[in-house]
Amino acid sequence: MKRMTIAVALVAASAFSGTALAQAKEQFVPANFYWVGPYAPGGSGFGGGIIDFMMMINERDGGVNGVKLTWDKCETEYNNARGVECYERQKNKGPTGATVVHPLSTGITYSILEKATADKIPVISMGYGRTDASDGRVFPYIFPLITNYWSQNTAKIKFIGQKEGGMDKLKGKKIVNLYHDSAYGKETIPVLDVQAKKYGFQVTHIAVPHPGNEQQSQWLQIRQIRPDWVILRGWGVMNPTAIKTAARTGFPREKMLGVWWSGAEEDVIPAGDAAKGYYAAAFNLPGTQHPVMKDILKYVYGKGKGEFTDKSRIGSIYHTRGVVAGIITVEAIRTAQAKFGKGKPITGEQMQWGIENLNLDAKRLKELGATDLMQPLKVSCKDHEGGGAVKFMQWDGRAWKVVSDWIPSDQSIVRPMIEESAAQYAKEKGIKPRDC
């Protein structure tokens, strides 16, 4: 009996140590996105992209230096309360807890900002979230990477300037800012006002109440103003409705320019032919021609392990945006491993260092097969944005066509506004900014 007990204990111990060893070689990344509800096209597309990329790294490379990437899905429904619940549920999973969180919602980003900072778990809010978090001295764990809303907005005005024949030609022009009547929608009003003063154009801000499925009165006002350009800052159904209503009121779509949350296939396909000629901003580009996308097709979809059953979604804007999020996540893990131990899972705190020291230059992007998928990115303790440039696309009725180079943002406008806003936040919260 005694021998039997010892044998059982040994088997149990070996099983436990085996599990522990297996766990020790895993890196957990929460997949807190949304697959149902009004914003499911964006949530499922982005979520599909990041999961497909992590799956590809596991299948092709056996993980990051042998550390397998793992994830659990949690449905946030784009709802702040559910987003916080998912964060709490997932933050302690995996051998080292959650590595990083992609909330994919400005509201959820705001809701978990202080918790994540206290828990030392980095939050990547790529192309959304709190713009002034670009000041890493005040927001050490928040990373609005690649381009924030204000940077994007200055690039948009530069693009409009290019179309008009030069920035000096903006003087006297009329621009309407048609925005979703929410914190997200209002975010760019101050930066537009500053630019209106600088370049001498007239800007009119017109709000569209949520959800934006009826915009007749807004577009009649626009027709009265007779603007040269309309900037569309929409989300969800507001986007195709704006494009359709522009057509109904005779406004040319070639004079409409959307934010990157108004620039996915899902925003234009429901509008049908009315969307032809419409422009949108982008910090990631669509397509399956990029080598990294080909690897996803080969190693993930080729093995029947892809996230999408509808294959036409592979390479869409939301999908490649998720892939870019995957690239950043994996490269930051790799950077952190290089400092804290190659082939070992890293903690959230170590990941924070990894993101802050991330340098995806043109050479590295080429090695990753992502040269035309995204722009080079260099993050620092002070600068949590990293990139700042934007490309512009035009919908031809079937697909997005890239119509510009990477247009850099106007940091002479954006950075002082960021630092002023971040300093105000630090003062309110009693935060002593880091010395970077």
Binding site: W35, V36, G37, P38, A40, P41, S44, D181, H205, I206, A207, V208, P209, H210, P211, N213, E214, Q216, S217, Q218, L220, Q221, R223, Q224, G236, V237, P240, T241, K244, A247, R248, T249, G250, E266, I269, P270, A271, G272, A274, D310, R313
Partner: protein, 299 residues
Amino acid sequence: MNVSFFFEVLIGGLLAGVMYSLVALGFVLIYKASGVFNFAQGAMVFLAALTFVSLLERGVNFWLALGVTLAVMVVLGMAIERVVLRPLVNQPPITLFMATIGLTFVLEGLSQAVWGSQPHGLELGIADVPMQWLADSTGMFISQFDLIASGVAAVLVAALALFFQYTRVGRALRAVADDHQAALAVGIPLKNIWAIVWAVAGFVALVAGMLWGARNGVQYALTFIALKALPVLILGGFESILGAIVGGLIIGASEKLAEVYLGPMVGGGIESWFAYVIALLFLLVRPQGLFGEKIIDRV
């Protein structure tokens, strides 16, 4: 004030109001026959439009897709009667209302589980562009799509009014609406009547879903158009088909005029709640709505 622009806003508002009325009609039908406020009407519009467009995209002929979708909505109506309503006969109205809230989430989830969550474009062959001759002669931009949608709504209302007024089933529906138990006592089959009215509401949802879907695309946000119908119902009365139309016209016109002329003074974006202000003002004067039945309880 630019008179031409004022009339453009007014006409645009009236035509938008007709679109709200289309959704409100579905609510009225069910309330009229069963006293149930069907919270799931928006979800039914979404399901109908999504089924129709998904069949079209799979290469099914337009008319066949229409027929199949109609059949789906009729079967759904009958299933709702059998599974949800029949067990709740003679329960308080709030119980039935709560049941329709549950039904909303089931239908929304089911629709996306079967057909996916991607938005779709829907082309009905009606150009949604301003009529050039009208723009040239008056300077007003009115979409021909809106005019045709108004025509469809008018035909639908006329057909439903005739159905309720002059057919045996219609009279039975009105009897059931007045008093379930009295209707049962005189031999009116309550189960059949409820199944019929839910099926008709399914048909109305299909028409509303096709027109709204062609206007903005078929996507989950179609469920939100129920919110546009609520002030229409409060104003027009929950059991009046005529009320749904008149209420829609008043709400549509007043919210557009308010947004254009009052909105800029207060930062804009007021039309969604201004519609409820109008509805509440009417409610204070006529609690039963413009065309609702005044109920007098003797104590």
